[in-house]
């Protein structure tokens, strides 16, 4: 249990790098996957899930306040579900993608909440009742806790569930998931190639 708490705590911290602090790319799926893999006892499983997630997420560019699905959440949760709870790799990767998509809803809600708070915060700063540092610190703590709770809840709910139903799922479905998992790097590499296109984009 402590191992899970540490893994979720570290994942939440890494996720902060996506938007809120630094943007050193520590939250890139490859890096997150490898760190989570190391913490959960299977470094190379984490690395593979991370590279696969990054290849699939390469076409999401966070411009102009858009909240794309989080690659860090996808890589991190799928590594925890797979390496810590022992679920099949291809199922946990698929679940990680869904969780990253669900997480955008959490992120958007937090941003909306801060928007509502803004007039009050601005007035307090102008009147010197509160410093920008205090606001930033509180925002960091709130965001971190929200991510931590999300990650912990998602992995402790779906991890054991996926592990237990793994055997009951028909073998043909296992093959189907395995095969689509095999396609991920190839789809990703083609996207990587396209992402380097120097032609101007026409919409």
């Amino acid at each position: 249990m402590l191992e899970l708490l540490i893994a979720c705590g570290v994942l939440a911290l890494l996720e902060m790098d996506t938007t809120y602090f630094g943007q050193f790319l520590l939250s890139r799926p490859t890096c997150t996957g490898a760190i989570m893999g190391y913490l959960c006892g299977d470094f190379f499983l984490g690395l593979q899930l991370g590279v696969f997630a990054e290849l699939l997420f390469i076409d999401f560019v966070p411009i102009g306040g858009v909240v794309p699905p989080s690659g860090a959440i996808c890589a991190g949760t799928s590594v925890i579900i797979s390496a810590y709870f022992g679920a099949d790799l291809y199922f946990s990767f698929f679940l990680g993608l869904i969780l990253s998509w669900v997480f955008t809803w959490v992120e958007k809600s937090l941003r909306r909440y801060r928007s509502k708070l803004l007039p009050e915060v601005e007035a307090a700063i102008i009147d010197e009742k509160v410093s920008p540092f205090q606001i930033i610190f509180q925002s960091f703590v709130m965001e971190y806790l929200a991510v931590f709770v999300f990650v912990l809840t998602a992995t402790s709910l779906f991890g054991p569930f996926l592990y237990h139903i793994g055997d009951k799922i028909p073998q043909s479905i296992h093959v189907a998931f395995k095969f689509s998992y095999f396609l991920v790097p190839w789809i990703g590499l083609s996207m990587l190639f396209v992402s380097f296109s120097t032609k101007p984009k026409v919409d």
């Binding site: 700063i125 920008p132 120097t198």
Partner: protein, 271 residues
């Protein structure tokens, strides 16, 4: 006034901390410039209040390139502090013009350079180093434990490929924009960004081709021409074509993968 650029540089890492839909990075920007404002207006509390309110205006830029906006705004803030009351509105208007124009241009350049070029380029570097040290992570996870260090070095190298230019630009951009003028667009046109982006993208494309060819070699050469391999290759080619087509329609690859999973599941159930 002597500006402590290092303090500002450190604070730029917190720019997006209170990101909100109304004014985006406004609180983050104020946090960055707050020590400077306190210094500039230390004997003028009313003007400090006005400056704080001004810096809480909407602001949105690329987190790295935003320094090109911040330096120029600090410079203009110093100008406002020295301005006589009559000329104050026009200098404040000038501050807003600088804020909007530099932030937008820096955002556009930064998103293209960092998110759309350097980030994927650093991934290419990572995969190349992994292949160079015989870690075939795209194919399997059964890698000897002794290679953990090599893989870690590959990850660190890919992070450096992104972070070294990012840190240099954060530091240099702040000073360049502070010393800049309208003529060099506050330091933004001191560097030929388009050329850098073009070179990196061309190199990235060539290296990705290399990775693709080597991946095919690692995955299929030596496997023989069994029905399994032929099926895999056929499906692979179809999904590669589909992937290029979905890109044209702006459909992210994540959905293509999900579609593939769905198709295979339906096929498995039907058969």
């Amino acid at each position: 006034m002597k500006i402590n650029f290092f303090k500002i540089f450190l604070r730029t890492f917190f720019l997006q901390m209170f990101w909100n839909y109304r004014k985006m990075q406004n609180v983050g920007r104020l946090f960055i410039v707050m020590p400077i404002l306190k210094e500039i207006y230390k004997d003028k509390p009313e003007m400090l209040k006005k400056a704080i309110a001004r810096n809480l205006d909407a602001f949105n830029s690329n987190p790295v390139m935003s320094v090109y906006s911040l330096g120029a705004m600090i410079k203009q803030e110093e100008k406002i502090a020295k301005t006589e009351p009559l000329r104050l509105p026009s200098e404040e208007r000038e501050w807003r013009i600088i804020s909007i124009s530099t932030a937008n241009t820096a955002a556009s350049l930064g998103d293209r350079l960092f998110w759309a070029t350097l980030k994927p380029f650093s991934l290419v570097v990572l995969i190349l180093i992994l292949y160079a040290v015989q870690i075939h992570t795209l194919k399997n996870i059964d890698t000897p434990h002794e290679l953990v260090l090599s893989a870690t070095i590959a990850i660190v190298a890919s992070l450096l490929v992104y972070n070294i230019p990012a840190l240099i630009i954060r530091n240099k951009g702040l000073k360049d924009s502070y010393d800049g003028t309208e003529d060099n667009f506050y330091g933004l046109i001191n560097i030929n960004w388009n050329k850098i982006i073009y070179i990196l993208k061309t190199l990235g494309q060539a290296l990705t081709c290399g990775i693709f060819i080597y991946s095919i070699y690692v995955s299929f050469v030596g496997e023989g021409l069994s029905a399994d391999v032929i099926t895999k290759v056929a499906l692979l080619v179809s999904f590669l074509v589909l992937s290029l087509w979905t890109k044209k329609l702006n459909i992210p690859n994540m959905y293509l993968y999900m579609l593939a999973t769905l198709i295979f599941c339906v096929a498995a159930i039907v058969s």
